[in-house]
């Protein structure tokens, strides 16, 4: 089986072909957004970080921007900087450029303000779109897919239907030689002993368990019961009673393949197969983390109906909740309520989902892309704003 993608200079394969307008700091967002809004074929990555933070977080902002810039769904990259931020814009530009990708920079304080920066950025981005649009999709094996996994606005149907179906999908991608990334470490809490059995070896299991312990301790240190935050109020309305119940359903997304390695947030895997990445479960941070890690397509399960997409990585929404499927047609791409009723097996639904994934990877637009519901983005920070 093959999909149609865009070949990149560093060997990666894009499922989309955008010019990425990346803001290097919160203070560049307005300009980046205006440039992208005026250029068809460009898309902006905006966030709230990049200044007045500890070095741990500033380094992460640098690394995540580099990862996003390297993502194969971006043909070329325009960085928008204010000029006085802590983000190391030269390091970011050089690292992205090392892939052979064209990188341009607009610095607001050097251009002479927002108006001139927007004008300069639009002209640059227009030329970059012209170049990018010459590229044609060509066939690639499924081993070039880097699948990100996510569940959001979960209810009890998530663990009973959509997450196990995505687990089958993940196994199929891994069997084809591709990569699958599972994050949402908060939603390992209470199910980590089951996930640990899927580790390649004891050392890899230990690394995963460390991430879970670190995440749980962060929550405990706040001195409250995490219920209400995890599971969320919406999860509870959907019938999920505890984080353990949510987690037991959530880890089904990882399927049955052994996980090969464990990474910090936003780090690109250097192995194929199933891998674990540190990340909280909230949409902006995990979608950004997956994109920074090189995901070129994301499968996102939902129970109650999460609409979020991402600017340049297609996010396929699937649900096992037949009410959500009927009620939120403009957000849902795929229904697996058939497996809840026993009308279709998990394997059959997983194979049907793979066909949908191949279509989307080859250019079929998701509901999130069509509706423009694609601004769930931010960088996961671990320290304070100072």
């Amino acid at each position: 089986m093959e999909f149609l993608g865009y070949k990149r200079e560093d060997g990666g394969v894009g499922t989309r072909n955008y010019v990425g307008i990346l803001s290097t700091v919160i203070c560049g967002n307005e300009v980046a957004e205006k440039i992208a809004s005026q250029v068809e074929g460009a898309t902006a990555f905006l966030h709230h970080q990049g200044c007045c933070q500890t070095p741990v977080d500033i380094n992460r902002v640098n690394d995540v921007l580099i990862g996003l810039g390297k993502n194969p769904n971006l043909a070329t990259v325009l960085l928008v900087s204010l000029g006085c931020e802590s983000t190391n814009i030269h390091k970011v530009a050089d690292a992205i450029g090392a892939t052979g990708k064209r990188v341009e920079t607009v610095v607001i304080q050097e251009e002479g303000g927002a108006a001139k920066s927007v004008a300069q950025g639009i002209l640059l981005a227009q030329a970059m779109v012209t170049d990018a649009s010459k590229q044609k999709r060509v066939p690639f094996p499924l081993s070039e897919l880097v699948l990100g996994l996510k569940c959001g606005s979960s209810d009890t149907t998530s663990g009973l239907s959509s997450n196990p179906v995505v687990g089958i999908l993940s196994d199929l991608i891994v069997a084809a030689g591709g990569t699958s990334i599972v994050g949402e470490v908060t939603e390992f809490i209470g199910a980590e002993h089951l996930l640990a059995k899927h580790a390649k070896d004891e050392e890899t299991a230990r690394k995963m368990l460390f991430l879970v312990e670190r995440m749980e301790n962060r929550a405990i240190q706040m001195g409250f019961d995490i219920r209400g935050g995890q599971p969320t109020g919406g999860n509870i309305k959907g019938g999920l009673s505890t984080i353990e119940e949510k987690s037991l359903g959530a880890i089904a997304k990882a399927g049955n393949a052994p996980f090969q390695a464990v990474y910090e947030y936003g780090v690109k895997p250097d192995v194929k197969g199933l891998v674990v990445m540190d990340s909280p479960g909230r949409e902006p941070e995990i979608l950004t983390g997956l994109a920074a890690a090189g995901a070129n397509v994301i499968a996102f399960t939902t129970g109650r109906g999460a609409p979020q997409g991402f600017p340049f990585v297609p996010v396929i929404k699937l649900t096992g909740n037949e009410k959500t499927w009927k009620n939120l047609k403009d957000h849902m791409d795929f229904s697996v309520s058939s497996v809840m009723e026993g009308a279709e097996t998990f394997t059959e639904a997983g194979e049907r989902l793979l066909a949908e994934l191949i279509d989307v990877a080859s250019g079929k637009r998701t509901k999130a892309e069509i509706s423009g519901y694609t601004s769930s983005m931010d960088i996961y920070m671990v320290g304070p704003v100072i």
Partner: protein, 100 residues
Amino acid sequence: MKQDAIMIKAQDNVATALRDLDAGQICRFVAGKKTFNVTIKEPIVYGHKFAVVEIPKGTDIIKYGEVMGRATAHIPQGAHAHVQNIESLRGRGDLGKKGA
């Protein structure tokens, strides 16, 4: 057969409603090789859980064959099993405060 509820593992003590269930109705479902007939005690909304057997206070709640929490009150067979009578055992920063 269209089931009214789903129970993942035969050792589970809660099942999940696959449609809105009314008080007094007998809910029938299969788990493993065993067929269960549970009389529903109170309305159960789609996707919510009910006790398959009587669950004494302090008992582990079992779903997917795994511990997903603990009963904070006696849960009669067929009663709604949710946040009002189930507590989490994880991420409990509040317990440290009480113990201090």
